[in-house]
């Protein structure tokens, strides 16, 4: 079970809702993933098109916890504004703090991220903070009181998987709050990798929405995360330099 703030979840997969080929495919993918947490962005409504479809209206909101993000914010002030708007919907009190500091790499701005997180904690939000794989920043954010830390595996949408396993390992080892590996997951292998390192969960979007078959990939990610978690709990063998037989040497027919 994964506990974040006051909520507990059976699924360790958080699924983003951006860039699916269609609503129909998206709904099926969400169901196949068995996720309980869906992320959203906050944007201006196209008020001149009242028939603009909206995913929220198609979902059974009893079944999912919503995790709005502050994507689009480049300063703490902008992130706080977006978070307040999200909460005013009355649908959620969790917020994924995401303050981008570099348009090219989409890596977060650590200073503004910290400032926004602290402000939102003061305002009573359940704060999940997206960061790079910076070990010290993760610690400082935890000390500030955030409810979960979300280090990126690699840049958002890059699909490059875990590029700094050592830093992620350090973050996981030091954290007493949940660690959700967010961003950069490309394939089920990457998701399993994160879970085997001991992450408490994985947040992904493009890996599913951009797959050739998003529904199948959603299921693959669900299974990879379950397998990775089980493997972590089971405790893997140590790596050795040379081969060691698994069949007995005694009793060999000669």
């Amino acid at each position: 079970m994964l506990t974040i703030g006051e909520k507990t979840f059976r699924s360790r997969l958080m699924l983003g809702t951006g860039k699916y080929p269609s609503f129909a495919v998206q709904k099926e993918a969400v169901a196949a993933s068995e996720t309980e947490i869906l992320t959203f962005a906050v944007r201006r409504m196209d008020i001149f098109d009242k028939d603009e479809p909206n995913l929220l209206e198609e979902l059974d909101l009893e079944k999912y916890s919503l995790l709005p993000n502050t994507a689009g914010a480049k300063t703490a002030e902008e992130a706080v504004r977006i978070a307040r708007l999200a909460r005013a919907s009355g649908l959620c009190d969790m917020i994924k703090v995401e303050v981008i500091g570099c348009d090219k790499t989409l890596l977060p701005d650590p200073f503004e991220t910290m400032k926004a997180s602290v402000q939102l904690l003061e305002e009573g939000f359940t704060v999940l903070t997206y960061t790079s794989d910076d070990v010290v920043l993760a610690k400082r954010l935890e000390e500030a009181g955030i409810h979960a830390i979300m280090p990126g595996a690699s840049p958002i949408g890059s699909g490059r998987g875990i590029i700094n396993e050592m830093n992620l390992q350090f973050i996981i080892e030091q954290s007493e709050i949940p660690v959700i590996v967010d961003a950069g997951i490309g394939s089920p292998k990457d998701a399993a990798h994160a879970m085997e390192l001991g992450a408490d969960g994985v947040l992904l979007n493009t890996a599913v929405s951009g797959a050739e078959d998003p529904v199948k990939m959603a299921e693959a990610m669900k299974l990879a995360i379950q397998a990775g978690r089980l493997g972590y709990e089971a405790g893997r063998i140590e790596k050795k330099e040379y081969g060691i037989q698994s069949s007995p040497e005694s009793g060999l027919v000669t």
Binding site: G16, K19, V42, E57, R81, A86, A88, A183
Partner: protein
């Protein structure tokens, strides 16, 4: 009356004087949305009391797909 609505300059008809009227005029009252009036969030229960004035800045936002 002229307001800035989601970044656009809009001339409102005379019968639109509150946030509630505004949402009705675009037929979006039933949608899941949040309204900001001059950078202050308008609680859902206050739509009828919140009157609009010339030059007001209104943002109507909602949730869209994102990661």
């Amino acid at each position: 009356m002229n307001i800035h609505l989601n970044g656009k300059s809009i001339d409102l008809p005379g019968n639109v004087t509150t946030v509630s009227d505004l949402l009705d005029s675009y037929d979006i009252k039933k949608k899941i949305s949040v309204v900001e009036h001059n950078k202050e969030i308008v609680p859902k229960g206050n739509y009828e009391q919140t009157t609009l004035a010339d030059g007001d800045r209104i943002e109507i936002v909602h949730f869209v797909g994102g990661g």
